[in-house]
């Protein structure tokens, strides 16, 4: 199945400065599998959203899902 990974902020440096990366993953793959293939050091990841909402790393992905990976951030 095909999954889109979006990189937030500084994390884009792990994707050649681009925001989006397409991944081909086997059926049954989890968020964790996608993160592992994204090229981002896992300890840089603060929050992962699937199709716009926060998601646990062990949840299964579906074809066409969009994963957005956020780094640690603050503001307010």
């Amino acid at each position: 199945m095909r999954v889109t990974v979006k990189f937030h902020g500084e994390l884009r440096k792990y994707n050649g400065g681009r925001e989006t990366k397409q991944l081909e993953l086997p059926e049954g793959a989890t968020v964790y599998d996608a993160l592992h293939r994204s090229g981002i050091p896992l300890d840089q990841i603060a929050l992962v959203a699937r199709n716009g909402s926060r998601v646990n790393w062990n949840e299964r992905l579906r074809d066409g899902d969009e994963i957005k990976v956020f780094q640690l951030a603050i503001g307010g």
Binding site: L47, A49, S53, R54, V55, F70, I74, G75, G76
Partner: protein
């Protein structure tokens, strides 16, 4: 030994506007050691000198501008100014802070605090030029907006003069009026109304003095380390690139972005108002005094031809997602109007969103709202209502009283009147973030995200939906923040360095010799208890530590926090216990003695 030369100027300036008399007094060493300055010093003065139950807009209320021991030094972000007064929005203790350059200039002029009381016989400007202090008539400025006032003052007093001004809203004593220090503001809680009630249009400061520290070499080293830690923080770097609004998309992903008057926590048009979208409006990055973070973005709206400092995350939520508006130029213009007329953008956004819900649920008709088509998402309505509120015209004169006052006119609307203790809610959805929810309920000045809200829980730092451990987490943050507000530093420094670094800077600056960071944390605990005592004395109780019914009883309809309400009672009980208070949230005598508060205030005044 005087405090002068040990990071303090050892001078509280007292201005009596009734008589025009000016007095100076020094700070008792014990007060400085136990409460530092800034929020601590201001709270102590207010607690001591304001009679309980007094009208916040009466002549004897004190308007206290404070600096801290670190203000004016090289400590990162130490140029801020604080304001302490009794809030006209709710009668609680109000403390508020602004960046920019007013704070350090006040310190360079020679003051740790300026306590103003009385009412000037005519609209006036308080002019502080180093040791020279005078009142000048300002009838010509009365009625002019914040921007015009500032330009006029600049013309009159020169470029090196820094100003704190109120707009028309402050003159009208609107409870949402702020005080505007150059391009930053002491916005929340109605400080502008207190200033207006004193017939004071502006404070102008020029300072040519110095701030000296106890051990310059040690201090420079401590500051260097703190600055390096800020430099090395990836979170701080995000703020430099994308301002405070950088978190908006994360908050939305966590279901915590208040949308349409806090009905839900995800905004469908988030792409329109996330940080990337603002880049086309941002023209320049700037920083407050001595700040290595530099989170300020300066935006330009071509449609309206206006410049504005921002938008911040808070203004984007308040005037954007919370009113359902995704039109960026409209958000910028609404923000501009708030700054122009001198009102707090968070409160204005909350009022507009409340009006929109009243309208959509037919509590209020179109004619009730001067013919404004107050649908959620209508940028025209946002701008019209902001303009009316800012000017206090038509329905604006009613709306500017705040969400709580407005809801009283519409029985049945209380559960979605989004305020705590009369102060409108900031930009995190309580049902999606339990620790933040607790902080909103407890904060002394009313719903507040800057007095210890663990915002990090929405940014991946913890499970935001559990209540477990949140009381302690909030307490830790709250004490931290109280120390930062007493120093005075910027709350964002927390994400680069800790109380450990603050401890070292303070010791080098003041020579107080605090033994460890724990002793510094104690200062924060002392200040928090002092603020609690003030509110208790004013008649606040455990019942006021609550949240709007929507947060407590309406399960969230969608998003990652779907089905959640805030389980407040349990967290509140845990929090009171963690603070060493009784089950009604009253500090015990033992706790107060342990905190040495008996050395600072009369314990016989206590509500026991």
């Amino acid at each position: 030994m005087s405090l002068e030369g040990r990071a303090y100027k050892d001078c509280i300036l007292r201005v009596d506007l009734d008589t025009g008399r000016v007095e100076r007094e020094s700070i008792p060493e014990e007060v400085a050691r136990l409460l530092l300055g800034g929020r601590g010093l201001g709270s102590w003065l207010l607690y001591h000198e304001l009679e309980p139950g007094y009208d916040p807009l009466g002549p004897r209320n004190l308007l206290i501008f404070v600096t801290g021991p670190l203000t004016g030094t090289m400590a990162p972000t130490a140029g801020r100014v604080g304001l302490v007064t009794k809030s006209p929005a709710n009668g609680a203790i109000l403390d508020s802070y602004a960046g920019g350059f007013f704070g350090e200039t006040l310190k360079f002029a020679g003051y740790d605090a300026v306590a103003i009381r009385g009412v000037a016989p005519e609209p006036s400007v308080l002019v502080i030029e180093d040791e020279k202090v005078r009142l000048e008539p300002a009838r010509d400025l009365w009625g002019s907006d914040v921007f015009d006032t500032r330009l006029a003052l600049q013309k009159r007093f020169g470029d090196s003069a820094l100003t704190a001004v109120i707009g028309p809203a402050g003159e009208r004593r609107s409870p949402i009026a702020g005080i505007f220090c150059e391009t930053r503001s002491l916005a929340r809680g109605g400080g502008g109304a207190v200033m207006g009630s004193k017939n004071l249009k502006a404070v102008v400061v020029r300072g040519s003095g110095r701030v000296s520290v106890h051990d310059p070499q040690e201090f420079e080293q401590a500051v260097w380390i703190a600055s390096r830690m800020l430099r090395m923080s990836s979170q701080i770097k995000r703020m430099q690139t994308d301002g405070t609004v950088n978190i908006l998309e994360l908050i939305n992903a966590a279901g915590g972005l208040p949308t349409r008057n806090f009905q839900s926590g995800q905004f469908e048009a988030v792409e329109e108002i996330r940080c990337e979208a603002w880049h086309s409006h941002w023209r320049r990055t700037s920083a407050c005094h001595a700040c290595p973070i530099g989170c300020t973005k300066i935006a330009y709206s071509e449609r309206y031809g206006i410049w504005i400092d921002g938008p911040e995350y808070e203004t984007t939520f308040a005037l954007g997602s919370n009113t359902g508006v995704s039109d960026r130029d409209a958000i910028l213009y609404a923000n501009y109007l708030c700054d122009k007329y001198g009102v707090d953008a968070i409160s204005v956004g909350g009022i507009v969103a409340f009006a929109m819900e009243l309208y959509e649920r037919r509590f209020a008709s179109k004619s009730d709202l001067d013919g404004v088509e107050a649908r959620f998402g209508n940028p025209e309505a946002l701008i019209q209502l902001c303009e009316k509120i800012g000017k206090g015209e038509g329905v604006g004169a009613f709306l500017e009283k705040g969400v709580r006052a407005v809801s009283r006119a519409f029985p049945g609307s209380e559960s979605f009147a989004m305020h705590v203790k009369g102060l409108e809610l900031p930009g995190y959805l309580p049902r999606a973030a339990k620790g933040i929810a607790l902080s909103y309920a407890i904060s002394e000045r009313g719903a507040c995200h800057l007095h210890g809200s663990p915002i990090i829980e929405l940014l991946g730092g913890a499970d935001p939906l559990t209540t477990e451990g949140k009381a302690l987490l909030f307490r830790t943050n709250q004490l931290d923040t109280a120390v930062i507000d007493a120093c005075i530093l910027c709350y964002f420094t927390k994400f680069g360095f800790t109380l450990k670094e603050v401890h070292q800077m303070l010791n080098a600056a003041t020579g107080f010799g605090y033994r460890n960071p724990r002793e510094v944390e104690r200062i924060g605990e002392r200040i928090t208890n002092l603020a609690r005592l003030f509110n208790l004395r004013e008649g606040f109780s455990e019942r006021d530590d609550t949240l709007p019914g929507r947060c407590l009883r309406e399960p969230l309809p969608s998003g990652p926090a779907k089905g959640h309400v805030v389980e407040l009672d349990r967290m509140k009980a845990e929090y009171y216990q963690a603070m060493g208070w009784d089950e009604h949230g009253i500090p015990t005598l033992r706790k107060l003695q342990e905190l040495q508060l008996d050395q600072l205030i009369e314990l016989k005044d206590l509500p026991h």
